[in-house]
Point group: C2
Chain length 345, copies 2
Amino acid sequence: MKDKAINICLVGFGNAAQEFCRMVITKNLEIKASTGYDVKVTAIAGRSKGSIINPKGINLAKALMDVESNGKFDANAEDTVNMDTIQVIENCSSNVLVELSTLSIYDGEPAISHIETAFEKGMHVITGNKGPIAWKYQKLRDNSKQRGLQFLYETTVMDGTPIFNFVKYTLPGCKVLSFKGILNSTTNFVLEEMESGNSYEDAIKEAKRRGFAEEDPSMDIDGWDAAAKTAALLNVLMDTNINPTEIDRQGIAHITLKDIEKAKEKQCKIKLLCEGYIEDNIAKGKVHPVYISNKDILSNIDATSSILGITTDLMGEVQVIEKNPEIQQTAYGIYSDLLTLIRSL
Amino acid sequence: MKDKAINICLVGFGNAAQEFCRMVITKNLEIKASTGYDVKVTAIAGRSKGSIINPKGINLAKALMDVESNGKFDANAEDTVNMDTIQVIENCSSNVLVELSTLSIYDGEPAISHIETAFEKGMHVITGNKGPIAWKYQKLRDNSKQRGLQFLYETTVMDGTPIFNFVKYTLPGCKVLSFKGILNSTTNFVLEEMESGNSYEDAIKEAKRRGFAEEDPSMDIDGWDAAAKTAALLNVLMDTNINPTEIDRQGIAHITLKDIEKAKEKQCKIKLLCEGYIEDNIAKGKVHPVYISNKDILSNIDATSSILGITTDLMGEVQVIEKNPEIQQTAYGIYSDLLTLIRSL
């Protein structure tokens, strides 16, 4: 690694990646002053936006402006390259990969291949993409360890809210026995809309309008996103080798206003719960809609907020809540991993 | 420091200290295997129970048994010493002070003097006593830094629940702008009892019966404990030099069942809120009973649970909840500081 230089190869240039670049622009001097490290983005591999490699550091302000005005990078710029993502990673001579490509929840690819290529090139990896953690965590962790490289993924569950670092750095000596939480904001928002009397269809429509649901919302509604997060948590916190298809998964598509009313009669709300636990000595995962008493903290997790309760052998149960995050909180997760990486060098 | 040896001088031998000793007995071999460090308690300075110094390591099982059977250490044992606490710290040749003496909320003494003496003797310090953090944090921190010693205090707010380490290790680059929480379990329990229709007097009685309130409950009821925690949080998280008397403090002694009923009519509960915030460029603290909407997460913080919400510049608001702790959670805070200390050596 070049002395005191962090040269980032950024894969993906969606909202979170763009916000992360804004943070790098704003915080660059502060990082240099406090750590001595000079942080640059030296490569960006976009899917529809094109790709750029510039070992001296990409002009991020220009890249952001080009994307804002034209939806893609300047095709005539000197540093624009005609390469696919793997080629960019192989040829960028960056030392840190920041993987923010679009999640494929059904196999974790192509993010896993991006990360493996980066390790082969001797790069540290920060991923905001939960696919690799949900599908191949142990293999990637072992690969990074063998090579003496850092592999960081705080953003993959609850954005920048500390979950993995929470357990790793602040609960030393504790063994995680189980966890329980509300981790999917789309379903939480839809259930809340139904709570206030809107039909399932109207709730989905409103979620789309407010940007909380994709055009095809099935990945959230059917519990796939929650299952991927549950698998990621199991893999990291309870050292399993599980994938999203192995999570006992039930979505909320079948929930009716009548179900919501029934829950109300029992002073309850319906929430989509993610659970990890030990059964017959095996760690298991479950995603399912359940009745939550109005007296339970989980019942008050509103809109796009989320909560994770972690039960340990020595510290009992501790809960962490993220309050209605914006895109900045996702970008901060990547940024915090970057600072954690620098601390470790 | 003797190579790979942690020799603890324990000041105070109440419930938390005793539980901590049980943890040391249970976890000793595990710590040795994972870190190489041999953890011993080589001195205990009790107030009413007597004091022991044994450089080879005190027989903790015997000390615990003696206190359980006779309320004090064996006066005839070889390692029993007739010294006051300062003398024990000066003569124990331990390298870590664990300060768990009884809190004096009105000046932070004698704990502050214990800690200063330990620093003079070149000892690292772990305190579970919030007095020193609420009264003299900056001075003690600077003193420890100048001497290259560790000064740790995770237990002082919300027991072993990570608060200080949460900000230090898992929110890198973030500036704390404000905080808000429910941090005193006695008042929370009393208000909850009143919520269910019991009078203030009966609620206090029940809190005493269940061990949640002292014989003289005024330190909790009048908001002093909450004010000390608020001062501690301000001092560490927002770098102030404030003390509990400077917190704008109001207790719950004046709250009547009528007030509780009025709150209920507005779909609210009354909770004793602790706040830290910036006003006119100055960090300020406040402890006061307020209406909390039943829709707010804070309304469901029940019995002896507690919550702290921290608002930062980069990560928005994150909340941490401790669920109905027992004495083990306090002891774990000390134990986690011990592991953090070992990690840093």
